[in-house]
Structure formats: structure tokens, C-alpha cells
Symmetry: C2
Subunit: 374 residues, 2 copies
């Protein structure tokens, strides 16, 4: 084990624990804000830490294209570059090559693609992905995998999963032995239990420091996602962190933790913040709406974030409508703060053996919210 993971409590399938890295501890269940291109959009790193976040995610695909992994390495690594002292998890680039890059070609060796920024040609292989993540200085490195576009036939999903497992073995080989750094495998297999189990077995055979559930949050809907999460985490080792990639809305996150997930990431809180959307315990609030124009109340009376402590809904509405940067800055801060409070609430409930009651309160608060969901 290259980083530590201690389980502190379990309530039903929900787990509370702590990941120990040389750059600091991460209490789980953990939500990781996304710092795609070396910044959590709209936030300074100190503000990200102030929300309670203990780890952020960086995107291999974006960083390899701009400013370039070798350049980041020359400048002292991603932590120093982006001024974030805590742990960083980087994805492998696999998913984003499929979803963002231009014209691409998939072979056994890897993926050839064109940059969405300037059309330049690039190659990603398991070996190159490991090299890039090493150059960035990532604390938690993700295997290079392939995520099939939906809809896909069972045969396509199976073929893709087997390719990802071969790439997982190559990723492990290329990663080598790096004390203080972890490598996570990524389970694939779509919504088919047999394929999920085969994938988990293949990954465990290779052996990883943690295991991600991949191939979800790609448009299948919450019901299908929870359907997979009802069984898939059970295929993974109990003593390793389980990471659900790219999830999600608050109720997705609560449902995932309930089903045994320890780590999540999503652009939603920051992206929502920049488009005038706030997440609160009473549900989603659309600050664009004219009904906020004269509302002297804070976004959430109980929230201690700077947006809620210092400003009215009327102000947030005004600055959003005026196109002011502070709108995205404050709403992103609020959303990330709310997400971290959500995680802290779940951790405390799991430790106290009252996750079920906490979950009921979570849903009740949303149902009683004065804010209708969008």
C-alpha cells in the first residue's frame, strides 16, 4: 500500500474512513473539487481549502495539452504550479479523450486524437498516461482506461472492459513502485453485473491501492447508476478506497455513499456556480430568477460560507445578471462549501451509526425547501 486507508466506521454499506498521504489526510467519504486546468474555476486555493476540501482533482487531458506535463514538471510539479499543498488526484485522460477530443483513433496500443484547443495531434497510451501523471506529481494516479460511448451493445461494453483491463495491467507495470503515491484501478462493465464482476476480478488480480467505479454518470440516469452501485462496490476489496468518478448531484452523492462509495468528484458545484445555480439543503436555487431581485434573505440562513454570510439573494441575482465575476466566485464558494458540509454530515452520521436517520433528514429538508427544484 503506497498510501494508507483506514476504515473508521461502517453503517449499513456506508463507510467512514481516512486516506493518509504524505501531503495530508483525506477524510472519507470525500468530495474532490475539480481543478481541470490547474485551478478550481472561480476559486483561489486557500478558498478551496476553506470549504473543507482536502484533495482536488486535476485533468490529465487538459494539462497535457496546456500547459503541458513536461512544462509543469520543470516548474516544480502541479502542486507548486497551482499553489495547492494538499493531495491531488489526476484522472488518466481516458474518459476525456473520448468525450472532448476531436477525431480520435482507438487501437490496442492507445488513443490517437486531436486537441480540442488547437487541433494538434497527440497520443495517449497507458504508459504515457502514467508518465504524464508522474510528471504532474499526482498523489493518486488513475489507470488509463477506455469508457465506451453510450448506447453500446453488451458485446461492445465487454470488449471495451477487457481492453481497459489489459490497459490496467500495463498501467500498473508502467507506474512501477512510487512510495507515497497511489495507483487506482477502474472497474468497467456498464450495467451488466457479470461484466462488472469480471472487471473487478481482473483488477484485484493486478492489485491496486484503490478502486474506481468507472463508466457511470455518463447519461444512464440515477436509477441505472444506483442499480449498478447496489452490487458493484461489493466486488471490490473492503480495505481499499472506492471512488465513483464524475458524480454528481447531492442526492447522487448521498445514494452513492449509502452504497459503499468513499470518494467522488464532479464539476457540478463549480459549473453550477458560474451559471447562477446554487445547491442548498433546501434544494437547488436559480439565482437568475427575477423573484430574487428584491429578496433580502441569504441563499441559506444556516450556511456559514462567505456568500451566505455577506450577501442577499438580491445581490447574488444582481451580480449574476450584471455578468460580474463575483457571482461565479461567491456561488462556486457556496456550492463547494455545501458539498463539503454534506460530506461532513454523512461522515458524522456514519461514525454515530445514524446514517439512515441522516439520509431521511436530508430528503425531508429538500422536500420542505421553499425553493422548487428546477
Amino acid at each position: 500500500m503506497r498510501i494508507g486507508f483506514s476504515r473508521l466506521a461502517q453503517d449499513g454499506k456506508a463507510r467512514a474512513g481516512v486516506i493518509a498521504t504524505p501531503r495530508g489526510e483525506v477524510m472519507t467519504p470525500a468530495f474532490m473539487p475539480v481543478g481541470t486546468a490547474g485551478t478550481v474555476k472561480g476559486m483561489l486555493p486557500g478558498s478551496v481549502a476553506a470549504t473543507g476540501a482536502q484533495i482536488v482533482l486535476g485533468n490529465t487531458y487538459h494539462l497535457m495539452l496546456r500547459p503541458g506535463a513536461e512544462r509543469v514538471a520543470r516548474l516544480g510539479g502541479l502542486h507548486r504550479f497551482m499553489n495547492w499543498q494538499g493531495p491531488i488526484l489526476t484522472d488518466s485522460g481516458g474518459f476525456q479523450v473520448m468525450s472532448l477530443a476531436g477525431l480520435r483513433k482507438l487501437t490496442e496500443a492507445g488513443v490517437t486524437f486531436r486537441s480540442h484547443i488547437d487541433g494538434s495531434k497527440h497520443v495517449l497510451t497507458p504508459e504515457r498516461s502514467m508518465e504524464i501523471q508522474r510528471l504532474l506529481g499526482s498523489d493518486i494516479v488513475m489507470c488509463f482506461d477506455e469508457c465506451p460511448a453510450l448506447p453500446a451493445s453488451d458485446a461492445q461494453v465487454a470488449e471495451s472492459m477487457r481492453l481497459s483491463m489489459r490497459w490496467a495491467a500495463r498501467s500498473k507495470e508502467a507506474f512501477g513502485d512510487r512510495p507515497g503515491h497511489a495507483l487506482f484501478g477502474i472497474m468497467q462493465g456498464g450495467v451488466t453485473p457479470e461484466l462488472r464482476e469480471q472487471s473487478a476480478e481482473a483488477l484485484k488480480e493486478i492489485g491496486f491501492d484503490g478502486y474506481a467505479v468507472g463508466g457511470l454518470a455518463v447519461g444512464e440516469g440515477q436509477e441505472a447508476m444506483f442499480g449498478v452501485l447496489d452490487y458493484a462496490p461489493g466486488f471490490l476489496p473492503e480495505d481499499r478506497p472506492r471512488y465513483l468518478m464524475g458524480v454528481g448531484k447531492p442526492d447522487d452523492i448521498v445514494g452513492a455513499v449509502k452504497r459503499g462509495i468513499d470518494m467522488m468528484d464532479c464539476v457540478l458545484p463549480s459549473r453550477s456556480g458560474r451559471t447562477g445555480q446554487a445547491w442548498t439543503r433546501a434544494g437547488q436555487v436559480n439565482l437568475k430568477n427575477a423573484r430574487h431581485a428584491d429578496d433580502p434573505r441569504p441563499l441559506d440562513e444556516e450556511c456559514a460560507c462567505p456568500a451566505c454570510r455577506g450577501y442577499s439573494r438580491a445581490y447574488l441575482h444582481h451580480v449574476y445578471r450584471s455578468g460580474e465575476m463575483i457571482a461565479g466566485m461567491l456561488l462556486t464558494w457556496h456550492n463547494l462549501h455545501y458539498y463539503q458540509e454534506l460530506m461532513a454530515g454523512m461522515r458524522a452520521a456514519i461514525m454515530a451509526g445514524r446514517f439512515g436517520a441522516w439520509e431521511a433528514e436530508f430528503h425531508a429538508a429538500r422536500a420542505q425547501g421553499d425553493i422548487p427544484p428546477l
Copy 2:
């Protein structure tokens, strides 16, 4: 005197002092960041204060159009609305109606114009400007004046100045008696000493808490501006603050303080920050430039702002090129920090009776800068 002004030292014509308001003191010479629409763009109020700024400026024109002065008043005033506890100076709307609004009609009564936001029709008069600034809760209120578009004939400038003086009298009458709040007159008269003197005499006859030098920084160039500043401040009372509106670049500011100006405001440091431009003691740095892509040095080794303490030029270049909000956030912070350090340096030099030596050092540092001016 509705607010206090104490002169602490004078060195040549350069003055150091302190303006005392119920919301806090403002050390002069003072630079006021511009918070046009209820926010200093790209900054949280706590960050603005952290740069050393003690007063910010709000724009009557923008705020009357959106969110509306009556609305701001209902929400508790501009300080509470924008979460800035220190003093606020508001302009009168006169200048911006001339430069920003659509189709407009000027009469003795005031100005009728169309909003640049939605084309709606509005009227500004001295009386309405005073009412708006009262509704906003401004600590330092500016007279409603007319600023002629350049080029203008002497006759046009004279006629405009006399109109502004009649409006100044109406502004004073409408302002009334508001303890703890100040009303500043605005000298006009273009680049003609006789007109400037006539304007100053008219203002002194009416009697104000402070006096602005208006009608400069409108494209006349630094030489012409300094030409006016060589004599115009001398027409104004010594025991009242003198405010040069809309200025400027660092060397404009130094030259203005040298000529007896106490207060200034400008969008330049914040606007430059959002367009990748930094102001440093070594001159102007264009972070867009590719030569910064691999530069591990901070923007300014000696600067204590978050941008210089936490990031390389390479990072600032990267985030600017990537269109990330943090670029504008960090560069605005740096620029405002640099402007406040500039003011603090001048204050200390005036207090020590070494403004001349300080000014020589200021120009020498720029001449020796590794950064060629743009």
C-alpha cells in the same frame, strides 16, 4: 464640514493627510478602487480591504440602471448590499451619462438619456443625482456636472463649465444637511487657466467639503493633464481634500500627488488585471506574452500579494491563456495591491519630507525594469 480632513504633512505641493468619516478613516493620498456595479470586478470585498484600500467608488449611472437606487435603499443601502463596510464615494452619473449612455438630450434642467443596458429612458438632474446618492448611502457624494466631449472650443468649454457651476449650486441645495456625509464640488474649465479659476471661485462661493478636478483623463494626454494640475489645485482651498477623477496609470498618479492631489480613482488596475496586464515597480508586464510560459519567477519578487507569493509568471500566463477566472482574480489583486503600495510609499515619503527622492526612485525602478513598457 460634514467629514473631517486633516493635513498631516506637506512636501513641495505633495500632501499627506487623513479623511475621517463615520465609516472609517482614509489615509491620503488615497487610491479608490472602482466598484462600478456594486463589486470591484474579480475581487471579494475582504480582498479589496486586504490590498490596503480604505474607500471604494460606486457608479451612480450603473447602479441607478441596475439594480436601481430605490432597490438598493430597500435592501439596506450600498454598503450592506455589496458587503463593504468602509466609506464609499459615488460619482454623480454626469460623466458616464455623457460617455456611456445612448441618445441623450442636455437641457438646463439635466440630461435625458437611454440606458446602455436595455434602451430604457431615464432622467438625471442635480436633484435626482443627489437623491440617488442618498438612497445608495454614499459617504462622499459628488455634484452633478457636465463634462464636454473633446475636442471642444473654448466657448463650449466655458459654457459647459458655467452650466456645471449652476448644477453645483443646485446639487448643494438638494444635498441639504447630512451629518457624516460629504458633498464634493467638481471644477471644470478644460485646459484654460482662466476658466479653471472661475470654476474654482464659483465652487468656493457655494462651499463644499472637498473639491474634484474634473474634465481631465478624457484623452488629453499626460502632458496636458499635468499642465492643468500645475496650477488648478492651487485655486482650491488648502484645507479640503482634492480629488482627481478617473486617474490613472502609476506615473499619472505620482505626478498628480506631486501637484497637490489627495484622492484618485481609476478602473485601470482592475481592468488591466482582467486583460492579462500587471503593473509592477519595474513597469507593466503583459502576461499574455509567450515569453512567460516557462518563467518560474513571480511577477514581482518584492511584492507580498497572493499572486506574487503563490504563483509563477508561467502559471499566470497559463491561466490567462486558458481563460480561467483565477487569472483576472490574481492579476486584479496584484494590481490593486501595487497601487496601494504606491500610495503608501508616497504617504511615507511625504511624511518624511523626501517625496522628491522617492519619486526619483520610482522612475529609476521603472527604467531598470526587466520588462519593457508596452
